[in-house]
Structures are given as C-alpha cells and as structure tokens.
C-alpha cells in the first residue's frame, strides 16, 4: 500500500493545524473527521488504511487534526465541540471542494460544518457515552491512588473551572457540550454500524470495535469494507 500521504495544514485562529492528505489529483475528495479523545489514537491506523484504500479507488482524502489534539499548539483546555466545528469548517474552506464528509464515532458529533453536507457516518456515539468512559477512567485512577471521587463531583469540578479526565483537560463548556451532544439530524446521511448491533443502519459491517482496544491496532478487512462502501456511496 505505497501511497504518498501529504502532510498539509489549515489555518485556524492564528494556529497552523496539521492535516494529512491523500490522492489530491483525483476527481473526488472527501473530508474524514476522526473519533474524539483516546479513540482517535486507537483508530488512526484504520483511518490511514482507509485513506490508502480509497486512493486506489481514485478518491482523495483530507484528515485534519483537531485543535488541541496530537501535535496542535492550540491550548487543549480551550478546545470544545464548538471550536472543533469551527476549525473543521475552516479546513473545508481551505481544502475540500465537494460536500462529502465521512465521520467516525465522536467525529459524528461535529460533522455539520458546511451547508448541506453529504454524510457517511461510522458507529456514531453520543457525547455522554464518551464522557462517562473518561470519567470512569479518572475514577479508577483516583481509586488506585486511594481517593474516591464520583461522576457528580467531576461534573462540579468541570463547572467550577476545568477537569482532567484521563489526560484530557475539559473546561466547563467542553464538559457541558459533550454531555449533551448527539449526532445532528442531516438530510443526507448513510449510517454504517458494526455487525451485532441491534440498531437499524444502512449497512452493518463485519469487524472489530477498534476503539475498545488497549492499544492501537488495525483491522484491514473492516477498513476495506469501509473503503468499498464509501466508494459506492460517492458514485451513487
């Protein structure tokens, strides 16, 4: 899978934010919105695999880093869903020509960033579920240090100023936005879920929930199924 990936950037609030691009000479290109927080790291290999597979189908991809994550110099405690949507909107203005947007997991919470987007969503998650997982990780690490803290106390801490959840600094606004966030209704959405999920979807794909793994891993069969379905969706 020797595909040239280009390290590019987009400008947001005076910061130079990174984005990874593939196949920019192709007629079609799409924006990929990564999962949020830890899940972003665990699924990064899958996203890059999908980019390489789509390149072979003559579809280019843009994968932005979100402000305050990865190598970004944007202060992470100032990041929140609103900021991320504004940044993605800027990234679209600067790099995306069409209206096709593919979002994964928590990325589905911040994918309404252009007028009339054509969306493909993979295993969307509510913000509250991400928040509960991060709060549980914090509660577990505090417990190992001999301290007891509850979810209510963590919510109060966030409200007062800021809370550190599993290494993520969340302001009161970030915490509140995440707690309420659900994927927005959109006119054109294709929904892909993993097999074994009871919820209805446009397609159920066989594969692993890589966001649950202790370490980042890949699932090439799933990545190929994702790339195949995205390519069909774009040509439809």
């Amino acid at each position: 899978m020797n595909v040239e990936l280009e390290h590019a950037s987009y400008q947001f609030e005076g910061y130079d934010e990174l984005c990874l691009k593939s196949g920019q000479n192709h007629a079609h290109s799409i924006l990929l919105i990564p999962p949020l927080f830890d899940e972003m790291n665990r699924m990064r290999m899958m996203l890059v695999d999908v980019m390489r597979m789509l390149d072979r189908k003559a579809i280019g991809c843009i994968l932005p880093d979100l402000p305050g994550t990865n190598e970004s110099l944007f202060p992470s405690e100032k990041a929140n869903l609103t900021v991320w949507k504004q940044a993605l909107s800027q990234c679209c203005d600067q790099h995306l020509e069409g209206r096709h947007i593919v979002s994964f997991r928590g990325g589905c919470l911040i994918d309404m960033i252009i007028d009339k987007p054509i969306l493909w969503r993979f295993a969307p998650v509510n913000g509250n579920s991400l928040l509960r997982t991060m709060m549980r990780a914090r509660i577990a690490s505090d417990k190992e240090a001999g301290q007891n803290v509850t979810m209510d106390q963590l919510a109060n801490e966030a409200d007062a100023a800021m809370v550190n959840l599993a290494g993520n600094l969340l302001s009161g606004q970030a915490f509140a936005e995440l707690g309420d966030a659900v994927p927005a209704d959109a006119q054109s959405t294709r929904l892909a879920l993993l097999q074994g999920r009871s919820q209805p979807a446009d397609i159920h794909l066989a594969g692993s929930a890589l966001w649950l793994r202790a370490e980042p891993e890949r699932d090439l069969v799933l990545s190929q199924a994702v790339a195949d379905d995205i390519a069909d969706w774009i040509s439809a």
């Binding site: 509850t150 074994g196 999920r197 009871s198 919820q199 966001w211 649950l212 370490e215």
Partner: protein, 90 residues
C-alpha cells in the same frame, strides 16, 4: 436498512470482550463462568474497563452507577455476565 437481532446480556459481554482483547469468536466462546478477567488479562486495564462498562450500557440500553462497580465484578467472566443479566432485567 439491514436487520440485526437483539443480543442477550451474555452475548453482549462476549462481544465486548472480543473487541477489547482482539480475539476471534471461537476464543471468546471458550470463556466459562470461571474464566478469570481482571489481573489475568493484561489488556483489561482500568481504561479498558471504563470502555467496557460504557459499551455494555450502549449495547444493552442500561445505566451503570459508580457504586455498582467494584473489583469483584471483574474477577471472573461469570460475575460480569451475572451483573449484565441483572442490569438488563431491571
């Protein structure tokens, strides 16, 4: 729209364990009530446990409170399945 059937609590626990540990279905099918979890499986660290609980909430449409979670819950596969069955029946 493709169709999928509801999972039983035990099937949901097996499916989540499979995803966390990166095992195939046959390996997870070999888990019995006595199979030891926390401490015996290095992948099952506290972050993985946090993800496991939320994933069970999502898949079984249940809510798990802080004070329901203790070390005993993750001692064995049987304990975890019994807990999931109890929550799903509430």
């Amino acid at each position: 729209m493709s169709e999928n059937t509801e999972l039983t609590p035990e099937q949901a626990v097996r499916a989540v364990m499979q995803d966390i540990l990166g095992l195939d279905a046959d390996q997870v099918a070999a888990f019995t009530a006595e199979t030891e979890l926390f401490g015996a499986l290095p992948e099952l660290d506290s972050m993985a446990v946090a993800g496991l609980l939320t994933e069970l909430e999502d898949r079984l449409d249940i809510m798990i409170e802080d004070d329901e979670v203790d070390g005993e819950l993750f001692e064995t596969f049987g304990n975890l399945v019994a807990f999931a069955e109890m929550k799903a029946a509430e």
